[in-house]
């Protein structure tokens, strides 16, 4: 089935490349083009939409800049494969530099509870709906370094509630993808400062009321739905983060 040319479908004033980008975005966010898969070649798309190569490339460039697509010279253009989740350690400096070891995970609790109104709003579910709550620490060498609290929609992540936490790997995002088909595409993080409660301090082998950095993350799938809420705490003295402004 040949798709109609884009000329007839776009709104007044809308650019052709923008109309094409919108159509491609729809294929991606709907999941018809799954994460990591190749999209049709540029020559195929220009034939399908009946436009010149430059127009197709402009549409694709738009989606590349949005982080939805990735180009690979000579291979093809691919739907963004998602985050692995190994990125929290960039905020902390524990031990030697340039060490990108994945911290080992120790699950302390995995419970089924009920969403508070605030959490429900973040996850886009009904207040009072079931959520999975995970408490785990992350270890480097022989020291617990980070303490994570994670909340998931129990409906979407049913298989995370049924499987044994001991079977999970140190990284959760690959588990989400393998067990529940949920790919984390982007996340928003907020950094704040606080002090450790008595039980939290015990889990991190630190004194009570020790200063800590608090990183609150909301993770989103490619369609923009929030799929995970996570709050991570670590020793404030190990915290450091660099970035650039222009």
């Amino acid at each position: 089935m040949k798709a109609p040319k884009v000329h007839s479908l776009r709104e007044a004033g809308q650019r052709r490349y923008a109309a094409i980008a919108e159509r491609l975005r729809e294929e991606i966010t709907s999941g018809r083009w799954p994460a990591g898969a190749a999209i049709p070649a540029e020559t195929a798309l220009l034939a399908e939409f009946g436009v010149a190569l430059g127009t197709i490339r402009q549409a694709i460039t738009l989606l590349v800049n949005e982080g939805l697509l990735e180009r690979q010279h000579g291979r093809g253009t691919f739907v963004h494969a998602g985050l692995t989740g190994a990125s929290l350690l960039r905020f902390f400096r524990f031990g030697k530099e340039g060490d990108h070891e994945v911290p080992r995970s120790q699950i302390h609790k995995r419970t089924l509870t009920v969403a508070t109104p605030e959490l429900a709003k973040q996850l886009g579910i009904r207040a009072g709906a079931n959520v999975i709550h995970i408490l785990r620490s992350r270890w480097l060498q022989t020291e617990p370094r980070l303490l994570e609290r994670i909340w998931l929609d129990a409906k979407r992540f049913a298989l995370m509630a049924e499987s044994e936490p001991a079977e999970w790997g140190d990284l959760l995002y690959p588990e989400y993808a393998a067990r529940c088909g949920v790919v984390v595409h982007r996340a928003s993080e907020t950094i704040e400062f606080g002090t450790l409660t008595v039980p939290d301090a015990a889990l991190l082998y630190l004194p009570a009321r020790h200063p800590c950095a608090v990183v609150s993350r909301a993770a989103f799938d490619i369609a923009g739905r929030c799929v995970e809420v996570r709050v991570t705490r670590g020793d404030a003295n190990a915290f450091h983060y660099t970035f650039n402004l222009t």
Copy 2:
């Protein structure tokens, strides 16, 4: 004088648009095209370099993405005007939201000292060379909120040493530009947590050893030279910062 076509000047394997971008970058970083000024029109550049419009646009896009140029539809393409410096408060939440008031400045000290080896390395000057050191606090309403220590190369910023601190505005970057012709184009910032010394705490009306966020900034001009080193401290409990990852 007509410039030679770019064909004959680029290195083997280098793209035309990359060669053109390099030439434009040289005009900008050398200061021949000053900050805020318009560059020649695309049609003028394509005639000068003897290439097609698309190639010129690709070269300009490269520099726009680097932050060196800014396009304005219908007006022209301009050299990036530089930072105003009003951006440190984005890290802190003092009082009401969405309040973009510029904090008032109180200069406590402006002294001429000698660069430590580490500072000299950052500023790209000789260890032991003269530097200007400024200690100032930034006020919102009736409270001191941030404490800043600033170091400048005394040679480049001679007029900052001679003028009266009382004459300076609340923002220093416009002073640098007006008095010394130094435009801050980009900055790199590192966040850490610490506690306040007794004298620093007194200046911020906080108890000694109160937790603080420490933001260390290196500011660079458009040619990539470090022109200012600044360390800012504020109440850690007011600190918060959000950003996105893909």
